[in-house]
């Protein structure tokens, strides 16, 4: 790979904290995961949502997932460990779903006649799949940010960013009153004004770290391309600017 992605947008006084966040960018890509099944479980929710969307059945979706997990436990990623994890998983769920539907068609069970699957929607670039994937990446980033706040409640970046995102028009003073009233986090306006830019940058970095892990190439262009593909490019750019 030609160059690795780095965040040059951070110029805050809390630079050391941001540097720590950069560590997430140094994690290994999904293709090097020691435990394929364990790694994929991170993305079980979007896979399941996509299966339900395509099959219209929660039990069938779960059956597909069981087969995928079992296969990954036994075989790992195999020779398919390249490219984007997002693509790999879409192919996996499509394969599992096709197999299952074929099995159902060969039976006289009640699902045999009712399963009318439009396979044209099961592509790696399907909008529904990219939406599910974006949601999953965001959810993981929020979870990471919140976990860090839980470990260090003196820097409530999660709470500040979350509440300011929910009430973007409120001033720091109003936001402080709201946060102090409606949550168990204590902040003041000065703290919000000081930490909100950092929170945005930190969130962007976590998001980037999540993206990097789903690619087999840390090249900056590949990361930017993936951000654009799942509709996060503009948002991340704004967040990086604080």
């Amino acid at each position: 790979m030609s160059s690795t992605w780095s965040d040059n947008a951070d110029h805050t006084t809390a630079g050391a904290e941001v540097d720590a966040a950069n560590l997430s960018l140094q994690t290994s890509p999904w293709t090097e995961a020691h435990n394929a099944a364990g790694f994929v479980l991170r993305y079980l929710i979007p896979m399941r949502e996509q299966l339900i969307h395509g099959l219209g059945s929660e039990p069938l979706a779960d059956e597909c997932l069981k087969r995928i997990i079992s296969h990954l436990v036994a075989e790992g990623f195999g020779s398919h460990a390249r490219g984007r994890l997002r693509d790999f998983l879409m192919r996996a769920i499509r394969s599992a779903a096709k197999t299952l539907v074929a099995e159902q068609a060969g039976t006289s069970g009640p699902l045999a006649q009712s399963l009318q699957v439009d396979w044209s929607q099961w592509t790696v670039d399907a909008q529904s799949w990219r939406d599910q994937w974006r949601a999953a990446v965001l959810a993981r980033a929020w979870r990471t940010l919140e976990r860090r706040e839980h470990q260090d409640r003196s820097t409530p970046l999660y709470s500040i960013l979350r509440w300011s995102s929910a009430y973007p028009r409120e001033t720091p003073t109003m936001l402080a009153i709201r946060i102090n009233t409606e949550s168990d986090v204590n902040v003041d306006a000065e703290m919000i004004a000081r930490l909100l830019p950092l929170a945005r940058r930190r969130f962007a970095q976590i998001l980037l770290g999540e993206i990097v892990e789903t690619l087999d190439d840390k090249d900056a262009a590949a990361v930017e391309a993936e951000l654009a593909a799942i509709g996060l490019a503009d948002a991340v750019a704004k967040l990086r600017n604080g």
Partner: protein, 713 residues
């Protein structure tokens, strides 16, 4: 098992049956096997005490990172000293095999309870949950996460019923599926994994709270919240399925408890309780809410001299709160208010702009319905005064009821100032809330409320110029032994303080149920000890038999039966020269089969000086009725204590040391300077058809009568 002259030469890799020594531990047997290794029963030959020895197996110990983490975390846990966390005596490594020596516990894991698949009583669940959370909080405060909370790692001690968390911090994997195992075996216990564990994410203390929620769900419902047949199915369910509410599975589960459990089972850690400490308060609040809504009040017999109370624990292995009043109350305690739904997951399903504008999801808060009664303003209660009455409890045994009397005076100068007149529609005019605060050497703690406020309806408010005596009782089950300041706050029904009164209370340790971990047991089987019994119609003693008989027979003209008294001699050994250090003592007996089944009262007297140190229990010189103090005025001998026991259905038989006699008389007697030996006379002070049978040293040395002694801290 033969001892080895060179203990250190043995390897821990050998199977348990061939393992003689591990360092200075002599292995006595195997207690169990876990995912990481064996648990052995062993003796610490240096300290002469038995321990549970956990030895890491070869598979784990061969990984240097696992081995070091085992040692690091075990050492960290060893620093946690808490009643609800198993005590680790030593952490070490020998021959490359890490091990830890832990306290050897009596009882069983919670697994044996949940295996029955039956819901447990709510009160017991709350009590156990409070203890477990207390233990978790102590570890979490030190940054230690358990990672594998499940029934098999929770110990219920007997006879106290105390819950202890085992195996802290020993789950070594970062994810649920073991990468070192080609078959993809699971590390941890699938049904109890938190979602973040299933995803292989970094864990914090809230992961333990999720797993605890699974355990509580299982206790409340008799089943797992998300049962599954296979590992993949289990993981999917943990990550993507919502369990049915506990009160849907078992309608007897109070809504407040169901809400608490569902919050613990939130998929996102941020939707659970923030910490074990916060959860502890929530559990306490649920207990208070349920108590407030229950009209049943447990009554506990209280004697006038709490320190001399002698109790016998319930049958060992019996489950506190199971059946009886607790069960009967279960269906009456559903709170009127209900929290709608569980916590809401925060998975975002849209672009970042959309996502960032969503209101943070927060667990719903309970909403109290509007009061249906007239509001009483605190200022209308200014004329009411509380004053002390001497007839109050100043001492009580832990777990029993403290009773106080306070005088409520109405100093209204005219009817228009009378609170009853000023609040004509109120069903409750005022309330007396009780707050206790520890004030002894253990430190001055925060005030807590041991019970719900005493509501005062108009009928309990005295007329102007008069006063009314009001009983205020509360249970001490949740309070540690110690000295307490008790504050009675006169409040408006909404809780506004309008006056107060303070008193003091000493809560004594309840030796009837406490663990005897710190006690040294001296049995009659110790060299120099003796036990026998004498009968009024026999000129020989019975010291050679497998049991002792103690009897005060019912008088029947056609069936004369002799009284029978037991004599126990204990060789105190090292205690003889350090009697001034004795803190508390107990006399322990094990009932044998074939004796009286029902209630009985035993009284102990000190007869050491009358008997001398050398009396014989058998043979030609063995004591008999006429040569023993039984022929004299028994009531004139030093009274040591009395115990009322209930052996109905033989429930106490062969329960080791289940009969416990204790009190200041016994403490003082053992502290007195009387040489190495003491002799105790046991008589029955009620009448029964059959004698009680107590296991003698000839019957079973390990179950023979004992005195348990504890040194002052």
């Amino acid at each position: 098992m033969a001892s080895d002259p060179n203990p250190a030469a043995h390897s821990a890799e050998e199977p348990a049956g061939e393992l003689g020594w591990l360092g200075h531990y002599r292995v006595l047997g195997k207690l169990g096997r876990g995912g990481m290794g064996h648990v052995l029963r062993a003796e610490d030959v240096r300290l002469k005490r038995q321990v549970a020895l956990k030895v890491m197996n070869k598979r784990f110990s061969s990984r240097p990172d696992s081995r070091q983490r085992f040692l690091d975390e075990a050492r960290a846990v060893a620093a946690v000293h808490h009643d609800n966390v198993v005590t680790i005596f030593e952490v070490g490594e020998t021959g490359g095999i890490p091990f830890m020596a832990m306290e050897l516990l009596h009882g069983s894991t919670l697994q044996s309870w949940v295996a029955e698949g039956k819901p447990q009583p709510t009160e017991w669940i709350l009590k156990t949950a409070a203890q477990l959370v207390s233990g978790l909080a102590a570890a979490h405060e030190r940054g230690i996460i358990h990672r594998d909370i499940k029934p098999g790692n929770i110990w219920i001690q007997e006879p106290s019923g105390r819950a202890k968390v085992l195996d802290f911090g020993l789950a070594l994997a970062a994810g649920p599926i073991d990468p070192a195992d080609a078959r993809g075996s699971v590390i941890g216990t699938p049904g109890y994994l938190s979602p973040e564990q299933a995803r292989g994410e970094p864990l914090d203390d809230r992961s333990d709270l999720y797993s605890l929620g699974v355990v509580l769900y299982q206790l409340a419902c008799g089943r797992l919240p998300l049962p599954a047949a296979t590992l993949p199915e289990q993981l999917i369910r943990i990550l993507a399925h919502q369990p049915p509410r506990p009160d849907e599975v078992n309608p007897a589960v109070p809504t407040a408890l169901a809400d608490l459990i569902m919050r613990l089972l939130s998929k996102e850690p941020r939707d659970r309780y923030r910490s074990a400490t916060v959860l502890a308060e929530a559990i306490r609040q649920v207990a208070v809410d349920l108590q407030q809504q229950s009209q049943a009040v447990a009554r506990i017999v209280v004697e006038s001299e709490p320190s001399a109370k002698l109790r016998v624990p319930a049958k060992l292995g019996g489950r506190a709160g199971q059946g009886g009043a607790a069960d009967q109350r279960r269906t009456t305690v559903k709170p009127a208010w209900a929290v709608g739904g569980g916590a809401v997951a925060l998975l975002l399903v849209g672009g970042v702009a959309w996502a960032l504008r969503q209101e943070p999801s927060r667990p719903p808060e309970p909403v109290q319905p509007p009061a249906a009664v007239a509001t009483v303003l605190a200022r209308t209660l200014d004329v009411l005064r509380l004053s002390d009455i001497p007839a109050a409890t100043s001492e009580v045994t832990a777990g029993e009821q403290a009773r106080f009397k306070v005088a409520l005076a109405n100093r209204a100068a005219a009817a228009e100032h009378d609170p009853r007149v000023l609040n004509p529609g109120a069903r409750v005019i005022a309330q007396i809330a009780t707050l206790v605060r520890r004030v002894d050497a253990a430190g001055r703690g925060l005030p807590s409320s041991p019970g719900f406020p005493r509501k005062l309806p108009p009928a309990m408010i005295p007329a102007p110029g008069q006063s009314q005596v009001i009983d205020v009782d509360f249970l001490t089950a949740t309070l540690e032994p110690g000295e307490y300041e008790v504050e009675f706050q006169l409040q408006s029904p909404s809780g506004t303080r309008v006056g107060s009164l303070t008193s003091v209370l000493a809560i004594h340790e309840n030796l009837a149920v406490t663990d005897l971990i710190e006690f040294d047991r001296v049995r009659t089987e110790r060299r120099g000890g003796a036990d026998t019994y004498v009968a009024a119609d026999a000129d020989t003693g019975f010291g050679a038999g497998p049991h002792l008989q103690i009897h005060q027979p019912v008088k029947k003209a056609d069936q004369p039966a002799p009284a029978k008294h037991a004599y126990l001699r204990f060789a105190l050994g090292p205690w003889a020269t350090r009697r001034d250090t004795i803190d508390r003592t107990l006399l322990l007996l094990t009932l044998d089969t074939g004796g009286h089944q029902g209630k009985a009262t035993l009284t102990a007297y000190g007869v050491t000086r009358l008997m001398g140190p050398d009396w014989a229990e058998k043979g030609e010189d063995g004591i008999n009725w006429m040569t023993s103090p039984s022929a004299g005025e028994i009531e004139s001998y030093p009274f040591l204590g009395r115990v009322e026991l209930d052996n109905s259905g033989g429930q106490l038989e062969r329960q080791i040391d289940a009969v416990r006699l204790f009190g200041r008389g016994l403490d003082d007697y053992l502290r007195a300077d009387q040489g190495e030996f003491i002799t105790i006379l046991l008589v029955q002070t009620n009448t029964t058809d059959r004698p009680l049978r107590v296991v003698s040293r000839e019957g079973n040395a390990d179950e023979s009568p004992a005195v348990a002694l504890r040194a002052e801290p």
